[in-house]
Amino acid sequence: MKKAIVGIILCLGLSVGGLLAQPIPPMATSQTLTVNAAVNSRYKLELSSNTVTFTRTQNPQTAPLIAQNEAAITVTVKATTSRSGSLPQTYYLRIQASGALTDSSTGNTISAGAVSWRATGSGFVTSGTISSTSNQLLGSWSSSGSNPGTITFSFQDSASYAPGTYRLTVTLSVGTS
């Protein structure tokens, strides 16, 4: 009889033990993965065209400002820039002529200052004149991203310019200086 009672208690105990185990929080095991990502500073300039032309069709005394023959150039300045704390690294779009407009057949020249621009787009300098002696600011931005705009060049004609075909190279550059 006593053995039977002990047996019953054992069974009861096992059952209660099982019941006691039920409230144990759901089993879980964890591991940690560290994820690293490198993002470098980089700058890119995209132009829809790299050539513009001007044609004198009228008397320069009556129509001194000649617009470029082509549609406005679409410019996109892309940048991933850095920041130190909350201070961002500003970046700039600049333009500079390599020299004067030159007619290679005659050697005649016209100052690069005869060429000016008008620009649209957030961050772009809306107007300015090209120089061969210094970089001219064409835009500035202080956050990473893609900055679209347009540039239209004009040529300030003059009756003093001899007829001819003049060429000039201008360089647009983007960077932090």
Binding site: Q31, S84, G85, S144
Partner: protein, 158 residues
């Protein structure tokens, strides 16, 4: 009841209580391992690489000895957004997603800050290794910097 038998009965009850609890614990076991425990995304031109694949695939080994009527689940919890080490810049962790094999039980997904995402699920006894490939969505709009964040893999009974 004979009081001389009381210690024996008490011992029997204690043992059986312990045995009951231990037997259930022994029946239900989950283990998890991941290799490696760190991955990296290299810098790239967003115009050339709109997405960047992590330098290594993460091998996830799951072992479940749950009863057949018990379900298990593997979740990934990003403990925040990617944070730059030298500035307060952040990149949303939702720009990181993963692909997985074999499917099922593993599944693809996208990380979310402080929200667990399911990466695998099943029931009963199971043991296998899954392969998770993490992918980072590249963009010009990020601030330059070295970012990091931890992701907690949790295998649990549900």
């Amino acid at each position: 009841m004979n009081t001389k038998r009381f210690p024996q009965v008490l011992a029997a009850v204690s043992f059986s209580l312990l045995a009951g609890a231990v037997s259930l614990r022994a029946q239900s076991n989950l283990s998890l391992s991941i290799t490696p425990q760190s991955i990296s995304f290299a810098a790239a031109d967003p115009d050339v690489s709109s997405t960047i694949t992590a330098n290594q695939t993460v091998n996830v080994t799951i072992r479940s000895t749950l009863q057949s009527n018990r379900n298990w689940r593997l979740t990934l919890l990003a403990n925040g957004d990617l944070i730059a080490s030298t500035s307060s810049a952040t990149i949303s962790i939702s720009n990181i997603s993963w692909t997985a094999t074999p499917t099922p039980p593993f599944q693809a997904g996208t990380l979310a800050a402080n929200v667990s995402q399911t990466a695998a699920s099943g029931s009963g006894s199971y043991q296998a290794t899954g392969y998770l490939t993490f992918i980072f969505k590249n963009s010009w709009s990020y601030w330059a910097g070295s970012y990091s964040q931890t992701v907690t893999f949790t295998l649990s009974q549900v």
